[in-house]
């Protein structure tokens, strides 16, 4: 019981304050030890005086560095959503709440999942009562919820012999969505082609040709069809077929074995990129994530909720394959109002038979340029 209490106490102490020795500090400690041994062995009081001097410098280091890292206040501003490998900017407001003593030589680290991440912020001097606003880049490499526990302040002040580290609890959480990657244009055209027969035949924003008519004042000059204009010697305008009524269902098969975990992440990345491309081009999109409830995104709104769902999507083991297949089949059967795509990171040959309502299945076998690193535009 006592040992547990002691252990807890040490744990708490080491959580809020820690010291590491620099290279110069190690040399200084070794010299101090040597002088100490000489003093004890000879009994020479002048050696003891030198030893006392070196010890006083060590203690003074501790006292002054403690003054530097105490009574600081922080406010961190983080973006609401982040994408993997997409740089973002975080803002840190730092205030020195001491009334008389400045804080000197400070370095700041974010503590996330027990790991220190250097923010790259360095303050040489923060006057008593002063505050400062600093920004720092944030680049996260894993999808999911990014939990920041706090901020660690590090200072080597005053002599550079030790690094005093102080922990300030400053919890924050960001959802990190799958990485957005540029998709091959051929794939995008295929997907557009799949949904073409489902498009309504009326004028509007889209890619397919609806009509050619004479240019009228007020029309967008970018829509002039120059070939017809040349042929007819009149300014002719190209009208496109409206695509806003089309709804594409994107189903993600969330089952994958453990060895396919990286490929699963890649699949989610492709899904997020597809959502981004399709919704931005004005399409309505339905997302089916395994057994989860379906999510809809209109063309004129941000698909953030879809990205968040992808960010939190969990890989299911192969044992759950049947349940996921059944749930997806039922959901796909309900959504017959447009083309359906199935994205699976796992090349299960049985998938074609299980999902007859799907127009196209994207698997590692069918689309190697999307799933494989070699020869693909995807980052490995």
């Amino acid at each position: 019981m006592a040992s547990m209490t002691l252990h807890t106490w040490f744990h708490r102490l080491s959580r809020y304050r820690a010291i590491s020795v620099t290279t110069e500090g190690v040399r200084f400690l070794l010299l101090t030890l040597a002088v100490g041994i000489a003093a004890v062995n000879t009994g020479n009081n002048l050696f003891y005086l030198l030893l006392a001097m070196m010890l006083s410098l060590i203690v003074l280091s501790g006292l002054l560095s403690e003054q530097c890292v105490r009574r600081l206040e922080f406010h961190r501003h983080l973006p609401d959503t982040l994408f993997v490998n997409q740089p973002a900017t975080a803002t840190l407001w730092i205030a020195n709440r001491k009334s008389h003593l400045p804080s000197i030589s400070l370095r700041f680290l974010d503590i996330a999942a027990g790991q220190d991440h250097d923010c790259g912020i360095r303050l040489t001097h923060l006057a008593p009562g002063a505050s400062t606003l600093r920004t720092y880049p944030l680049l996260i490499r894993r999808r999911g919820r990014y939990q920041i526990d706090g901020i660690r302040v590090v200072t080597p002040f005053p002599f550079g012999l030790f690094h005093k580290k102080a922990f300030y609890p400053q919890e924050a959480s960001i959802l990190v969505c799958p990485e957005l990657i540029p998709l091959p244009p051929v794939q995008l055209q295929e997907i557009h082609a799949i949904g073409h027969e489902h498009a309504l035949s009326r004028r509007g924003h889209g890619n397919s040709l609806y009509n050619l008519r004479e240019f009228r004042p007020g029309d967008d000059s970018r829509a002039i069809h120059w070939m017809t204009t040349a042929r007819t010697a009149k300014l002719m305008l190209k009208e496109t077929e409206a695509e806003d009524q089309r709804i594409i269902t994107l189903a993600v098969f969330t089952v994958a074995p453990d060895e396919e975990a990286d490929r699963f992440e890649r699949a989610l990345s492709i899904a997020a990129s597809l959502i981004d491309q399709l919704v931005n081009s004005g399409l309505r999109l339905r997302l089916l994530l395994g057994e989860q409830q379906e999510l809809l995104a209109e063309g004129n709104e941000s698909p953030l909720h879809l990205f968040h769902a992808l960010a939190l999507c969990e890989r299911r083991p192969v044992a759950d394959s049947a349940a996921v297949q059944e749930a997806l089949s039922q959901a796909l059967a309900r959504s017959q109002d447009g083309p359906a795509l199935l994205l699976s990171s796992w090349a299960d040959p049985a998938l074609h038979g299980v999902f007859p309502a799907v127009d196209q299945i994207l698997t590692p076998d069918t689309h190697k340029d999307l799933f494989d690193a070699a020869g693909s535009c995807l980052p490995a």
Partner: protein, 746 residues
């Protein structure tokens, strides 16, 4: 001064301090001193990197290969020095260390060069600590500590600046001078000195607190003993003459029970050895038998034989004596010692009351002597005849074969005497008044030194006077003996002690009276050389006092001292605790009485008094905690804005008030720039002024730009103009309805 210049200068000064302490501790060869001085000069000139001199020095630099060859040669020289020249490791090592220092001073380019230089300087200071215990080490140590703090701080700050300037490259190999570095400010100067002072205070604290566990293998407690004369069993007359010019300090004597004013002018006789036999040329002790003194608890040795009564403490004189290492076993103290306290294995005493150690001490020794001074009994002052014990008559009336004229002289002097004491006084006065003090006496060559002194030359020094008095007293039938020791006359008013030097060696007389015992008589007149106090002597005494304190507090600080301090603190703590408890109980009794009197009139009598006291105590504690909380809150709740930001906020508030009076109110949702647009559309003539003030406000408050005095003066003038403009237009326009408060600042 730029930061990097200050850093280089402090590094060189640090090395210089270590080197200077080393040169004082050991005599370095002249060529090494010249080489080192040259290296220091070059390093100092190189600090000013822009000057023409340093440019010329830069061209003189040797290549790395040359320095490597230099180091190899220096190392070879070390072995040569060790086996052929010095033939000792310490001097050879120190010579090699100085060469390493020269090498580093000439190649201060990279960070590690500076670190090596610091290590070398520390080793130099360590070596000088091993070689000396003199007080000059103290200022060097202090300087090293202060410069060390400066150097380490500057080293760290420079490293930070370099890393900030080029964070990607990690400037391990970049010279600091290439960077744009800040300069030293007065604030930095004083802060660093404050840090150095704190380091010094902590150093002293640690020095006194570190337990002294000197149980090692390399302890060296042996030093050179001071050579003394006049304290052996056989002393030739005139042997003290040569040492009467020696100013070496033999001992320091404190009289704790006497104030400085009492003892300032009173000479102190420190008794060493007594002699009873004189053969015409030399004195001997014919009673050499020594007995071991009884050891009492707490390192105390007593001379009192069992069955005798101790002297009353009020009559005893306590002396704290710090004795330098001497080549004699004699222990000194004022006449006549009754007990001695000190860390001695044993202590001996002969039949004439002299104290002896078993062997000469090789270290400075501190001991305490308790003495009982003797005075002549009133009945013996007028006694014409005294009855002496046989032992005294046998031992202390021996007279050598001296010239008849000496005997005649003694008879003439004592002829008018009416009593023994009177005869003694007549001889004493005769010697004091008829003879001249002179150290230039060739007594050792003379076959009859006493006759020469008394009859021929009539000049001499203490030994001659004392011998003459003893011989004349004995010829008159009065038992007497010669005593050698020291006559302490140099009072150190700074340290509160007597400084006793070799030249204070002295001889005097002890005359026996049956009831009074041995009475000290000194027939030697004062030396004519004794001049008045000069500023130089005062300075020397002050320096000696400092030296003594250095020796006591630092050089000879021991585990025993630590134990004494701890014991003192414990006793002091107990005394304070007892006093506090007494005060507290007295106060509580008074408080209880007051509460009782107040309570009897207000509170019903059945409520016990202790309950009221308890309630009052709780109220006091609660009140104190509330005050503390308020103080703490006041400390923590200070404005988040700096002084400059607060100034511009006040200015901007004035602007808003002006606008509000004009009917233009800032909505809480509008930014300063949006509000400026409103002013532009609704109050066009005020816009240029408002624009200037608003921009200053945003720059200083949000951009944290510095507020210069000129900018502040301009802005204040603009707000005043704006206010006047508002008043002038207000006169021509209907006033706005009701008071308008400035909107909340964003």
């Amino acid at each position: 001064m730029p930061l990097d210049h200050a850093f280089r200068l402090s590094s060189i000064l640090l090395a210089g301090t270590g080197f200077a302490s080393l040169t004082l501790a050991i005599a370095l060869p002249w060529w090494l001193l010249i080489v080192a001085a040259g290296a220091f000069s070059m390093a100092l000139l190189r600090i000013q990197s822009t000057s023409a001199v340093s440019g010329a020095i830069g061209h003189l630099r040797f290549s790395a290969l040359t320095w490597n060859v230099f180091l190899v040669l220096a190392f070879a020289g070390f072995w040569l020095d060790l086996f052929l020249i010095s033939q000792e490791i310490l001097p050879a090592g120190i010579h090699f260390l100085v060469l390493l220092l020269v090498n580093k001073l000439s190649n201060l380019d990279q960070r590690r060069d500076f670190l090596h230089l610091y290590a070398i300087s520390l080793i130099a200071l360590l070596a000088s600590a091993a070689l000396t215990t003199q007080i000059w080490y103290a200022p060097f140590f202090f300087a090293y500590l202060v410069i060390g703090v400066w150097t380490l701080l500057l080293y760290h700050l420079l490293q930070e600046q370099e890393e900030l300037a080029e964070p990607q490259q990690g400037l391990a190999h970049t010279t600091p001078s290439l960077l744009l570095l800040p300069s030293l400010t007065a604030r930095f100067f004083w802060t660093t000195n404050a840090v150095a002072t704190s380091a010094f205070a902590l150093t002293l604290l640690f020095f006194f607190l570190i337990p002294r566990v000197g149980v090692g293998f390399f302890q060296n407690n042996h030093g050179d003993n001071l050579r003394t004369t006049g304290f052996s069993e056989h002393v030739d007359l005139g042997v003290m003459g040569p040492v009467k010019q020696d100013p070496s300090i033999v001992m320091r004597v404190e009289l704790p029970e006497r104030t400085g004013h009492d003892s300032k002018w009173e000479p102190l006789y420190l008794r060493g050895v007594a002699y009873n036999r004189y053969d015409g040329k030399s004195w001997t002790n014919s009673l050499p038998h020594r007995r071991m003194l009884t050891e009492l608890p707490e390192d105390t040795f007593t001379l009192r034989t069992s069955g005798t009564k101790p002297a009353p403490p009020a009559r005893q004189l306590r002396q704290e004596i710090l004795l330098e290492p001497l080549d004699t076993t004699v222990l000194f103290g004022t006449p006549f010692p009754t007990s001695v306290k000190g860390h001695f294995l044993s202590l001996q005493s002969d039949l004439m009351g002299s104290l002896y150690l078993p062997f000469p001490l090789h270290t400075r020794t501190q001991y305490t002597v308790y003495s009982s001074p003797t005075t002549l009994h009133t009945t013996e002052k007028k006694s014409a005849a005294l009855l002496y014990p046989d032992f005294i008559l046998q031992q202390y009336l021996q007279v050598p074969a001296v010239n008849e004229q000496v005997l005649e002289l003694a008879r003439q002097i004592t002829q008018p005497a009416t009593s023994i004491a009177h005869a003694v006084a007549l001889i004493h006065t005769h010697l004091l008044t008829h003879y001249r003090y002179n150290l230039d006496v060739p007594s050792l060559q003379s076959p009859h030194p006493l006759e020469d002194f008394l009859l021929t030359r009539k000049t001499g020094y203490c030994e001659h006077y004392a011998t003459a008095m003893v011989v004349m007293l004995r010829t008159a039938g009065i038992p007497a003996r010669l005593v050698t020791g020291f006559l302490a006359t140099e009072w150190n008013e700074f340290g509160g002690y007597y400084t006793v030097r070799q030249r204070d060696a002295h001889a005097w007389v002890e005359v026996y009276f049956p009831q009074s015992g041995w009475i000290t008589m000194d027939p030697t007149p004062p030396s004519p050389d004794a001049a008045g106090a000069t500023w130089w002597q005062s300075a020397t005494r002050a320096m000696d006092s400092l030296r003594l304190k250095w020796d006591r507090l630092f050089v000879h600080y021991s585990a025993h001292d630590q134990f004494t301090v701890v014991q003192g603190i414990r006793e002091g703590g107990e005394a304070v605790r007892a006093g506090f408890a007494e005060t507290l109980s007295a106060l509580s009794a008074q408080a209880a009485a007051i509460v009782g009197r107040m309570g009897s009139s207000v509170i019903p009598s059945d409520v016990p008094h202790y309950a009221i006291t308890l309630l009052l105590a709780i109220a006091a504690v609660y009140g104190a905690s509330a005050i503390l909380r308020r103080l703490r809150n006041r400390r923590t709740q200070h404005s988040p804005f700096s002084t400059q930001q607060q100034t511009v906020i006040t200015l901007y508030t004035s602007l808003l008030q002006c606008c509000a009076q004009r009917g233009i109110t800032k909505p809480a949702s509008a930014t300063p720039m949006e509000f400026l647009e409103q002013i532009r559309t609704r109050w066009e003539e005020a816009w240029p002024l408002a624009d200037s003030v608003t921009r200053l406000y945003t720059h200083v408050r949000f951009g944290e730009a510095a507020l210069t005095e000129e900018a502040l003066a301009t802005a204040e003038a603009q707000v005043r103009t704006l206010r006047l403009l508002g008043h002038s237009t207000a006169d021509s326009q209907p006033p706005s309805r009701g008071p308008v408060m400035p909107s909340r600042l964003r």
